[in-house]
């Protein structure tokens, strides 16, 4: 038998065609209701299987047109739809004169069974509904409009939902791109700067070893050799500090470490002992003037690294036979908040005015081709920031940087 299949989706048409041809039926295709009516004019069909949502002319309009034409009164009409699947849609379809309403997707065997059953068991008198659909035209079109509006509303809501989801995905993509960019830049920076710092350390060690080798057979050069060996030891300590700082910095930047109440006086004492031990070959005098023995801030285990790096910096950049560091701890009130102000005053080489702002930075100042120095001070800045504090450097003697530095820390106090 000849069947007219109507659907705007080529894949659906193909599948339907395959199913019907496999059971011996002849198949003609149309992509919308208008094309279907044209096919109907030029051929005789036993059945029409039609989708509903189609451009140009939809399935409901097609069904109405077929049932309004006496010429087609013996053609079975089946709706096969994925969009109009609610009960009211089915009711409208049957009122329009459809013989069957099938919801997609349906298993092929089941579908074929229904179609065959219709083709074989429907009496000609049963093909067209007994009711005169013209009399109910007004009501039908009202129903049709309602279903159409309903579908449009559903589609609109679905589109809105899709739009929100897309926006969320785009936002997530942007965030991930930014995270990747930050991580990539950080990795590149660490790679370059770590390589640079290690090269300098190795150079100092190599030069020290080679100079010592040259004077091996010269007992009169004992003091010189002793000084060179001390220099080598300092470079090894510097290397160890570098590794520790990179590790700490990496952790600080990638993981949120929680803060707790910490007594800074205790940590300061430990840090002083650590630095004196590390630089046991240097004469170091560190005095602490504090308003108390127990003073608390919100901090974590990085506080050790903070103090150690500031103290190490003061020792490294000090050419005096005796390194003097005076640590002052007192309380200041700023905007009704209590802070602990910790000053590290040293008699070192000092920091020129031009460097005071950049000293805590790593990387390049593009305008001047200048580089910040010290992973250590960069780590210090990061730690202070994580404590909601501030750090800056002044001259120990105002206006004369050659007399040494004053590294100033300002951290909120907790009770």
């Amino acid at each position: 038998m000849k069947v007219l299949i109507v659907d705007d989706n080529k894949e659906n048409l193909y599948l339907l065609e395959r199913m019907l041809k496999n059971i011996g039926h002849e198949v003609v295709m149309a992509e919308n209701g208008k094309q279907a009516l044209e096919r109907l004019q030029s051929d005789n069909f036993k059945m029409i299987i039609s989708d509903i949502l189609m451009p140009v002319m939809d399935g409901y309009q097609l069904c109405h047109a077929v049932r309004s034409n006496e010429e087609f009164s013996d053609i079975l009409f089946v709706f096969y739809t994925a969009t109009y699947v609610e009960k009211p849609d089915e009711e409208l379809a049957l009122k329009m004169g459809a013989n069957k309403f099938i919801r997609k997707p349906m298993e092929p065997e089941k579908f074929i069974k229904i179609i065959e059953n219709l083709l074989q068991n429907t009496e000609p008198s049963q093909v067209k509904p007994k009711k005169d659909i013209f009399k109910e035209e007004k009501g039908l079109f009202k129903l049709y409009s309602e279903r159409l509006v309903n579908k449009l509303e559903q589609k609109f809501l679905a589109l809105e939902k899709e739009k929100i989801e897309r926006q969320r995905i785009v936002q997530k993509l942007r965030e991930n791109e930014e995270k990747y960019r930050v991580a990539y830049n950080r990795a590149e920076l660490y790679k370059d700067l770590f390589a640079h710092d290690i090269s300098n350390i190795l150079q100092s060690i190599l030069s020290g070893v080679q100079l010592t080798e040259q004077f091996l057979g010269h007992p009169e050069k004992f003091e010189y050799k002793k000084k060179t060996l001390e220099g080598i030891k300092e470079q090894v300590i510097r290397g160890a500090n570098l590794v520790s700082n990179v590790r700490n910095l990496s952790q600080l930047e990638s993981v949120k470490i929680s803060l707790k109440r910490v007594n800074i006086c205790k940590i300061l004492k430990n840090s002083i002992a650590f630095v004196k031990n590390a630089y046991s070959h240097r004469k170091i005098n560190i005095q602490v003037n504090s308003i108390g023995e127990i003073l608390y801030i919100q901090a974590n285990y990085f506080l050790n690294a903070l103090f150690e790096n500031i103290l190490t910096n003061s020792v490294k950049h000090n050419k005096n036979p005796m390194v003097r560091i005076n640590i002052r701890v007192f309380r200041v009130g700023i905007n009704e908040v209590n802070y602990l102000k910790i000053e590290f005053l040293d008699n070192g080489t000092g920091v020129e005015d031009a460097r005071k702002e950049n000293i805590f930075l790593r990387g390049v100042n593009e305008d001047k081709g200048a580089y910040g120095i010290g992973f250590g001070l960069w780590l210090v800045k990061n730690i202070v920031d994580s404590y909601n504090g501030k750090i800056w450097v002044e001259d120990r003697v105002k206006g004369d940087h050659t007399k040494g530095s004053n590294f100033v820390l300002l951290i909120p106090e907790v009770v």
């Binding site: 640079h196 090269s199 001047k368």
Partner: protein
Amino acid sequence: MVGIASNGEEAVSMFISFSEKPKVILMDHRMPIKSGIEAAKEILEMNNNTKIIFTTGDDSIKEKALSIGAFSFRIKPIMLEQLLDDIKKALK
């Protein structure tokens, strides 16, 4: 005679202040205030007879250093003999 500067800006200032200009400069690159490349450019513009030997851990600037007129370029750590050899060649 040996002079020491701790950054590029100091190197340039010292160079200007010397009546007898240094024949050889051992120049690092990654320094605060002014980098080695920037300092070398300025010094060579003032006096292109000065031989600048770059001694740096940063190998990414080799091409740049040689293109601005550096005498030679060494990556740290450098063996003393190699450095002395470069200095001797520069002084010839």
